[in-house]
Symmetry: C2
């Protein structure tokens, strides 16, 4: 699995060419590259499976305020999955089969949001790596797993909360996410 962090798209391309094709290529970027190196970035995206960006970046990349339209464009240019992070509001995932959305976990004590998006990406990719499963269901679980990890990261400064995190706490918060979002069908 290869995660192309937020660097110059030309360097991302260079990295891509230097590694043997990984099982999954994920990619992050930012407005600076979207506006300044658009062509190189689209070239990177041709070889990317999962693009993970925030909503402002998605709108800048797609040059459209409507995220569904942006997703259609991005999915037509290479990525099989577009994940849009929305900070305290949660995240959306678009692919050919589905749209999946989750709110962020409501926390009473948020100490420091720094790194929440990166922790989300790490949790998302870590879950897929650990399970080896890429089914639509596993992709959704990975979205929640990433949201769970991000919700812990913001509870303290730097990596402090992750450093003392127990897997049982992760499982418990995953279950809390289910209670937070699940509902029964109507008649």
């Amino acid at each position: 699995m290869l995660f192309l962090g937020n660097i110059d798209p030309e360097l991302q391309l260079d990295v891509l060419q230097k590694v043997e094709r990984p099982g999954l290529v994920a990619c992050d970027t930012m407005n600076f590259w979207i506006n300044g190196k658009r062509d190189a970035l689209w070239k990177v995206l041709e070889n990317v499976d999962v693009l993970i960006i925030n909503d402002g970046e998605a709108r800048a990349l797609g040059q459209d305020s409507n995220l569904v339209k942006v997703a259609k464009l991005v999915l037509s240019r290479g990525p099989k999955h577009l994940i849009i992070k929305r900070g305290e509001y949660g995240a959306l995932m678009f692919n050919e089969k589905q749209i999946f959305g989750t709110p962020a976990f409501p926390l009473e004590d948020v100490r420091d949001p720094t790194g929440a998006g990166d922790t989300f990406a790490g949790g998302f990719l870590g879950y897929l790596t650990a399970t080896g499963n890429r089914s639509p269901e596993a992709m959704k679980q990975a979205m929640i797993f990433g949201s769970v990890m991000a919700s812990f990261t913001v509870e303290s400064f730097s990596l402090d909360r992750l450093r003392i995190l127990d897997y049982k706490e992760v499982q418990e918060r995953f279950r809390e996410f289910k209670r937070l979002t699940h509902f029964e069908d109507i008649q």
Copy 2:
């Protein structure tokens, strides 16, 4: 059922005193009253079951940026349920038993967001009225029902979309909401 629309809290109080105690009292308000008639508003809320406001209003009312803390305060002052509308990001519901959250339905064509919040409230209260059910599960379904109705309203101007809406479309979008948000437990 009584829905106290967004008017002067002193008028809301007056209305409350003029009707026999309804089965459910819901209430809307706005920053103008929150900042200008805070005491009267808190007095209204003592007699309110469901407060339905947006996130900016919630933060102004609770005088805190953290919505979980705001919810604790509001729930201690009368309302049994606090619903926080977040526009394109969805909605949260806080009560003693649970927090429930849903993203908004991602739409490719949004014509006019005017009235989305009011349509949400109407759908929410209409669902509770129609079913007569106030269980925690029914409250969650009402949240989704309100979100479904709001998602239709923004597809066209004024009430145009609601005027031609078929109940089968409502049911189908409710099911789409389930596909949008549901996921399976992890091991």
